[in-house]
C-alpha cells in the first residue's frame, strides 16, 4: 500500500443550511489519474477544496503518504505538495507568464529588494519546456488563450514540486485540440508518478484519461471503479441513482397550444449557438444542462441583459426587439436570477418597497408623490397570495429566509404585470422544506396562465416540474424531451459534445 498518496476518510463538511459532505472518502495513488464525477452539487469540488486547504473539514481524517495530516490553509497544502487548479483560473492577467508562476517566491538579486527577472524567466522557461509547451515566459497572461492559461497554472503547480495535482473541470472551456494537449501533459505527469485528480462531467473524456473513477452524489461517496471495467451507462446510473421525489409530479393541466414566446436561431459568440425553442401559455419549460452549458446566457439574452449576435424573438407571434431589460419587462418578460441577493432584491429595503420596485410608476400620485396606501395594499395582497412569511411589510428583505426572498422576487415581477417568467435555479440555496413551496408556486403561476422557463441543474427538479425539457450542452440545444423522461436521458444529452470545434 506504499503507493497510496492520499487517503481521505469520513470527511464531513457543513455550510449554513447545507450538509455538503457526509462521510466522504477518497483515495489517490501515486501515478494514477483518478476521475471524480457527480452531478452539480454532488460535493466533488468541496471535497477537493478540503484536500487543498481551501475549506477546513468538520470531521474525518486525511492521510498523506500514510501519515495523518492537518491542512488548515492553501499554503499548508502547497507545502505538502498538493496543488489545486481552480475552475476559475487564479492568474494575474496583467503579469507575464513567468511572473505568475513565481509570484510570492521570486528569485531576488542583491540588494534583496530587487527582482532577478532573468532568473525568473529562465526558470519559467525550463518548466514550460519540461511540459513541452511553446509559450514565451514573458508573454502577458491576458494575451494567452484559456487553454494556455491553464497550462501556466499547471506549470505553476509543478514548480511547487507537487505530487498531487487536482484539476477542477479543466476541460470546460477548451477545444478538442486543446484537450488533447492537456491530456498529453496529464499523462506525462502521471508517468512521472504524480497523482492527478480530474474533476469532470464529461464521461467520454474520463474513459480516455482516467485510471479509476470515483462517483459522488448528494455529498456522499457512491463508489470507485477501475475505468476499464466501467461502462458509461453504469457511471451515469451511479451518479443519478436516487429517488428524492417519490410521487409523480402533479403538473398543472396541459398548457394551451398558444405560443407566447418563440426564439429563432439565437447566436452569441461561442456561448449561444443556434438556439431555437418556443414556450406556450401556461407551460413550464425546463432548461436542463450542466453548469456552463449556456442556459443562463440564453435567458439573459432574451431578457436584454446581454446582446445577441443574431436571432429573432417573437412574443405572442410578434417580432420584438429587446435591447435592454426594460424592453423585456415591457413585453411582459421577467428574469429571476439565481443570485437573488445581488440581482433580484434590494436587501436593505423592506418587503413592501421590494414588491413595488419594478412597477413604481403605477403608484405615483400628485407630483410624483408615492401613494403609500396603494403600495401597501398591493404589497399586502402579494404577501398573502404568495404566502410570504414575514413579520410585516416593513421587514427588511435581508432578514427573510431564502425561500421567502424568492417569493418576494416573484411578487415583484407579478406587480409589474409580467407573464413570461424565466427562473434561473429557483431553488438554489433554499432548504428542502421551502423547495416544495416554490414548486407549488410555480405550478400555481402556470395554472393562472403564466408561462415559465425554469433553468435548473437539479435533474429531479426539472423532471418533476416541467411539461417539456430542453437540454443544452456547450451553447446549443442538444435535444428536447417530453415530461416523463428519465435522468439518464437528460445526462446523455447534457454531455453530448458537439462536433469538433475549430480551434
Amino acid at each position: 500500500m506504499s503507493d497510496v498518496l492520499v487517503s481521505m476518510e469520513g470527511i464531513d463538511k457543513s455550510f449554513p443550511g447545507v450538509h455538503a459532505l457526509n462521510q466522504c472518502k477518497f483515495e489517490l495513488k501515486k501515478g494514477e489519474v483518478h476521475a471524480l464525477v457527480g452531478e452539480n452539487g454532488a460535493g466533488k469540488s468541496t471535497l477537493m477544496k478540503v484536500l487543498a486547504g481551501v475549506y477546513s473539514k468538520d470531521a474525518g481524517r486525511i492521510l498523506y503518504k500514510g501519515a495523518e495530516v492537518e491542512i488548515p490553509n492553501p499554503r499548508a497544502a502547497q507545502h505538502l505538495g498538493i496543488s489545486l487548479i481552480h475552475q476559475e483560473l487564479n492568474l494575474m492577467n496583467h503579469l507575464s507568464v513567468a511572473q505568475n508562476i513565481f509570484i510570492g517566491r521570486e528569485p531576488r538579486r542583491r540588494p534583496r529588494l530587487f527582482l532577478d527577472e532573468r532568473r525568473i524567466n529562465e526558470q519559467a522557461k525550463g518548466l514550460l519546456e519540461m511540459l513541452h509547451l511553446d509559450i514565451d515566459p514573458r508573454t502577458k497572461v491576458a494575451d494567452l488563450t484559456v487553454a494556455k492559461q491553464q497550462m501556466v497554472e499547471i506549470a505553476k503547480a509543478l514548480s511547487f514540486n507537487s505530487e498531487v495535482l487536482i484539476m477542477d473541470e479543466p476541460t470546460a472551456a477548451l477545444t478538442e485540440k486543446e484537450i488533447e494537449d492537456l491530456f498529453r501533459i496529464i499523462r506525462q505527469l502521471r508517468d512521472k508518478g504524480v497523482g492527478v485528480v480530474h474533476i469532470s462531467h464529461r464521461l467520454e473524456e474520463l474513459k480516455q484519461i482516467s485510471d479509476r473513477i470515483t462517483v459522488m452524489r448528494d455529498g456522499q461517496y457512491v463508489g470507485t471503479t477501475a475505468t476499464k471495467e466501467a461502462s458509461i451507462d453504469e457511471i451515469i446510473r451511479m451518479m443519478v441513482g436516487r429517488t428524492i421525489f417519490g410521487a409523480r409530479p402533479e403538473l398543472p393541466e396541459k398548457p394551451s397550444s398558444e405560443v407566447v414566446l418563440e426564439a429563432r436561431h439565437l447566436h452569441r459568440g461561442r456561448v449561444i449557438r443556434d438556439v431555437s425553442f418556443n414556450l406556450k401559455r401556461g407551460e413550464i419549460l425546463g432548461f436542463a444542462g450542466l453548469v456552463g452549458a449556456g442556459r443562463t446566457e440564453v435567458a439573459r439574452a432574451i431578457f436584454g441583459a446581454d446582446p445577441l449576435d443574431s436571432g429573432e424573438i417573437y412574443v405572442r407571434g410578434e417580432r420584438v426587439h429587446i435591447k435592454t431589460p426594460a424592453d423585456a419587462v415591457r413585453h411582459g418578460i421577467a428574469y429571476l436570477s439565481e443570485d437573488r441577493k445581488r440581482y433580484g432584491l434590494t436587501l436593505g429595503m423592506d418587503v413592501e418597497s421590494n414588491l413595488v420596485l419594478a412597477a413604481f410608476h403605477k403608484f405615483l400620485g400628485y407630483l410624483g408623490w408615492v401613494n403609500r396606501s396603494k403600495t401597501g395594499e398591493r404589497a399586502d395582497h402579494y404577501v398573502k397570495a404568495l404566502n410570504i412569511r414575514t413579520p410585516g411589510l416593513q421587514q427588511k428583505a435581508r432578514n427573510l429566509s431564502g425561500g421567502n426572498q424568492q417569493k418576494v422576487v416573484v411578487g415583484k415581477w407579478l406587480t409589474a404585470d409580467t407573464n413570461i417568467l424565466i427562473f434561473d435555479e429557483p431553488t438554489r440555496g433554499i432548504d428542502v422544506g421551502a423547495k416544495s413551496e416554490i414548486y407549488r408556486l410555480l405550478n400555481d403561476l402556470a395554472k393562472q396562465g403564466r408561462s415559465i422557463i425554469m433553468i435548473s441543474s437539479e435533474l429531479p427538479e426539472v423532471l418533476r416540474m416541467s411539461h417539456r425539457i430542453v437540454v443544452m450542452c456547450e451553447g446549443r440545444i442538444t435535444g428536447e424531451l417530453a415530461s416523463g423522461a428519465d435522468q439518464e436521458g437528460i445526462m446523455k444529452l447534457a454531455t453530448q459534445r458537439g462536433e469538433t470545434r475549430a480551434a
Binding site: P74, R75, Q78, N90, L91, M92, N93, H94, L95, Q99, I103, G104, R105, E106, R108, L113, F114, L115, E117, H132, L133, D134, T139, K140, A142, D143, L144, T145, K177, D181, A503
Partner: protein, 336 residues
C-alpha cells in the same frame, strides 16, 4: 503541431496587447503633450521661451511628485484621496520643526518626509487590516490631515525666513552653476530623481511586482502566498512618503508652509496618473506615463494662462481632459 497552431496567434496577440495596455495611452498622452506644445507655440510667441518652459517644469514638480506616489496606489487597485492634505500637513510640520523648533533644515526635511510616510502607513493599516474601503479611509485621512495642519500651524502660514538655505535648496540651480545660463531649479531635478527611483521601484523591485499583482488579481496573489495586507500597507506608506516629499518641496518653493493650501491637489495628481495610462481598475500603469500626464496638465494650464483664458475656464478644461482620459480607460477595459 503545437508550433504551427501557435504561430498565427502571436502577432495578433502582440497587437491586442498594445491596443489594450496602458502603454497605448502613454503614447497617446505623449502625442497630446507634443500637440499642446506645438499648438501653444503657434498661438503665442511667449509660450516656447526658456523662462516659460522652466515655469512649466516648476509647476509640474509638486503635482508630479504627488502623482508618482499615487501611481503605486492606483496600480495596486486602490485610491488615495488624502495625498493633497497630507502634503500640506508635511509642509506645515516641516515649518514647525525648522522655524518654530529651530531644528536643522536637513532633519526638519526628514521629519516632514516621516510625517507623510506615517499618514500613508495609517491609511494602509486602516485599509488592509480594518478592511475599510480605500475611498472612505483616505477621505477620512484627507480631513484628519487638513485639520492637523490647521491646528499645528495655528491657522497661520509658517515662514522659513530664518533659514534661507531651505528655499535655496529648491529654487537654486545646481545645473545653472555647472552650465551657465541653464538655470533649471533644483526642484525640477528632484522631480526627475524621484521619478527615476519610483520607476525602478515599480518595475524592478519586489514591491513593484506585488503592486501589480494586487491590482491585477488580489485573491490570486493571496492564494499564491503573497502577504497581501503587509504589501498594501507598504504601498500606501510609499504613497505617503511621496506626499511628504511634495510637502517639503512646496514649502521650500513658497518659502512658507500654507496650512490652507493642498485640497484639490489630489485630484490633479490622480488625473495625471490616469492621463498617463494608469488604469483606475488597477494592474496597469507606468511612472513614465504618470510623468507625461503631469506635464500634460501643467502645460495645458500654463498655455491657457498665456492665452489669457480666465482661471475658471482653465479648471473647466482640465476637468474635461480628466473625463476624457478616464473614458479612454473605460473603452480599453470594455474591449476585453
Amino acid at each position: 503541431m503545437t508550433e504551427q497552431t501557435a504561430q498565427p496567434e502571436a502577432p495578433a496577440a502582440a497587437k491586442r496587447s498594445l491596443a489594450r495596455s496602458g502603454s497605448m495611452q502613454t503614447v497617446l498622452a505623449f502625442g497630446g503633450l507634443i500637440i499642446l506644445f506645438v499648438g501653444f507655440s503657434i498661438a503665442s510667441s511667449n509660450f516656447f521661451q526658456f523662462e516659460n518652459i522652466v515655469g512649466i517644469l516648476l509647476a509640474t514638480a509638486v503635482n508630479g511628485v504627488l502623482a508618482l506616489g499615487v501611481t503605486f496606489v492606483i496600480v495596486s487597485g486602490g485610491i488615495d484621496l488624502s495625498i493633497g492634505t497630507v502634503m500640506t500637513l508635511s509642509a506645515v510640520m516641516t515649518g514647525v520643526f525648522v522655524t518654530n523648533w529651530h531644528v536643522p533644515v536637513p532633519i526638519g526635511v526628514v521629519g516632514g518626509l516621516a510625517i507623510g510616510t506615517a499618514a500613508g502607513l495609517v491609511n494602509g493599516i486602516i485599509i488592509a487590516k480594518m478592511k475599510v474601503p480605500p475611498f472612505i479611509a483616505t477621505l477620512g485621512m484627507l480631513n484628519i490631515a487638513k485639520g492637523l495642519a490647521l491646528v499645528s500651524s495655528g491657522l497661520k502660514p509658517i515662514y522659513f525666513n530664518d533659514t534661507p538655505s531651505f528655499n535655496q535648496m529648491a529654487m537654486g540651480s545646481a545645473l545653472g552653476a555647472l552650465i551657465p545660463g541653464f538655470d533649471v531649479p533644483n526642484l525640477v531635478l528632484v522631480l526627475f530623481g524621484a521619478a527615476i527611483i519610483a520607476s525602478l521601484a515599480l518595475s524592478r523591485t519586489i514591491l513593484g511586482r506585488y503592486t501589480f499583482a494586487l491590482g491585477s488579481n488580489e485573491e490570486a496573489a493571496r492564494l499564491s502566498g503573497v502577504k497581501v495586507d503587509n504589501w498594501k500597507i507598504a504601498i500606501y506608506s510609499v504613497c505617503g512618503l511621496f506626499s511628504g516629499l511634495a510637502g517639503v518641496l512646496i514649502a521650500a518653493r513658497l518659502n512658507s508652509a500654507q496650512p490652507s493650501l493642498g485640497q484639490g491637489y489630489e485630484l490633479d495628481a490622480i488625473a495625471a496618473a490616469v492621463i498617463g495610462g494608469v488604469s483606475l481598475s488597477g494592474g496597469e500603469g507606468t511612472i513614465l506615463g504618470t510623468v507625461i500626464g503631469a506635464f500634460v496638465i501643467s502645460t495645458l494650464t500654463n498655455g491657457l494662462r498665456i492665452l489669457s483664458v480666465p482661471q475658471e475656464w482653465q479648471t473647466v478644461v482640465t476637468g474635461g481632459i480628466v473625463i476624457l482620459a478616464v473614458y479612454l480607460d473605460v473603452i480599453r477595459r470594455r474591449q476585453r
